[in-house]
Amino acid sequence: MSEKNRYEAGFGSDAQKEPRRIVFITKKTSAKVKGEVGRQVMSYPQLILREAIAFEILTIVLVVIALLWDAPLEQLANPLLTPNPAKAPWYFLGLQELLHYFPPIVAGVLIPGLVVVALVFIPYFNVNIQGEPLWANHPRRRLNLFLGCIVVLLVFFGIYHAWTVIIPTVVISGLALTAYVPAAGRGRFLEFLGSRPLSWWVMTWFITVAIILTIVGTFFRGPGWSWVWPWR
């Protein structure tokens, strides 16, 4: 309290130059959740330099690729000559693969619509902001709920024989279940799985399914959307 005098009236002009920091600790996030800010550096030149290097690496890689390969160009468009199969651009082939199994209103409208809505809402679900592991609390109740959801999903996919969705779903939920058994001392990978929150599992499931559907749609589908081996 020896500094007290420095801030008293009369030294008012000085007070502006010595800003004080006020900290609010709200209930939603515990102060611990946010890590240390750590050291700070000047953006110029530290950040600008790194961005410039990133830009140069990108340009070089892209130029090399553009020198080695050529962009595809087929025959002039002909509305009377339908190729078999007609494929959408690669990033929509996951959707086209879904379209093969589900009715168009589900695969073409409902699922992509729900994905976009879900993405927008991600930051507004403040349920588990500290990222608690999936099985940390009430493991029994959660296990029942989890198994219930998986069974409903698998039955739904099963009705439509959507096995390129079923396989990754089984694999990911299997991994989530192995994490149910306490992982201490069972190796780094299992410990890592055991520490993951529900949101991590859902996103990882989504990405896995999306990547597998896209790869299958791109390489493994031939005439009439039948299964083909790309190396045959």
Binding site: V33, G35, V37, G38, R39, Q40, V41, M42, S43, Y44, P45, Q46, L47, I48, R50, E51, A54, F55, L58, T59, L62, V63, A66, L67, W69, A71, P72, L73, E74, Q75, L76, A77, N78, P79, L81, P83, A86, K87, A88, P89, W90, Y91, F92, L95, P104, G108, V109, V116, L119, V120, I122, P123, Y124, N126, I129, Q130, G131, E132, W200, M203
Partner: protein, 250 residues
């Protein structure tokens, strides 16, 4: 030795009146002038003046957001050059592709850059989104920037998709046919929406022109706006999230 004299020459240049009149500062030797270099510059001032050195590590972001942005810049430059050789008309559009290959100097190279750059941007943006998710970059106070990001993802996909039709070859025509058929499954609004997008019931000259206008004017403008907001919000929200910020205490 040479470095030193080069450095001195540069500093001298930066101390001239003309340099100062342009950049509003002398050599960036003190933290004050280094700050001025950022917020005294129209283009750099969306960036923060200081950053956490944790967020500069490659592992913090893999520079995926930066790569998305740089790809957008490269695509804008190569796209404008391509516009010099392209007519959005049937069948001239296809002939222009052939001309790029056989007549224009380095035409194939230019088209390759634009094409592969576009594929890379789709990958970079998806990857950036997933990486932001896994490091908890959407958590408060970054919620809204995530929503802006979802807008950017949709714009990126739509930019790529509208560009896909422009070569007017079989690949382009049938890929767009598959995609626009999906739109017609939307209840009630499906048919009108498809008609609006294609300027008719079939993919023809009108569709090509509409896709072209979307691809070179409307969507790039929207992307520029959203990217500006996005980068500026990273700064306003207090800088990047690094993984440790949301990892639980062990």
């Amino acid at each position: 030795m040479i470095m030193n004299s080069a450095q001195r020459a540069l500093d001298q240049l930066r101390s001239t009146r003309v340099w100062k009149s342009i950049f509003r500062r002398g050599p960036a030797r003190t933290n004050r002038t280094r700050s001025l270099a950022v917020f005294g510059n129209l283009f750099l001032h969306v960036l923060p003046v200081k950053v956490r050195d944790k967020s500069l590590r490659v592992r913090a972001t893999y520079y995926l957001g930066s790569f998305s942005f740089f790809l957008f810049l490269l695509l804008s430059v190569t796209g404008i050059l391509l516009m010099l050789y392209y007519h959005p008309a049937v069948p001239q559009a296809y002939r222009d592709m052939k001309d790029l290959r056989f007549v224009v100097s380095n035409g194939v190279f230019l088209r390759n850059l634009h094409r592969f750059g576009a594929e890379a941007m789709v990958i970079a943006v998806f990857w950036h989104m997933f990486h932001v998710f896994y490091r908890g970059g959407y958590k408060p106070p970054h919620q809204f920037n995530w929503v802006v990001g979802v807008g950017l993802l949709l714009i990126t996909l739509f930019l790529s998709y509208t560009g896909y039709l422009l070569p007017w070859d079989q690949l382009a025509f049938w890929a767009i046919t598959v995609g626009t058929n999906i739109i017609s499954y939307v209840p009630l609004l499906g048919q009108p929406m498809r008609f609006l997008l294609l300027g008719g019931h079939q993919i023809g000259e009108n569709a090509l022109l509409r896709f072209y206008v979307l691809h070179v004017v409307i969507l790039p403008l929207a992307a520029v706006m959203l990217i500006a907001i996005h980068l500026w919000r990273v700064q306003k929200d207090g800088g990047l999230t690094v993984k440790e910020d949301h990892e639980r205490e062990k």
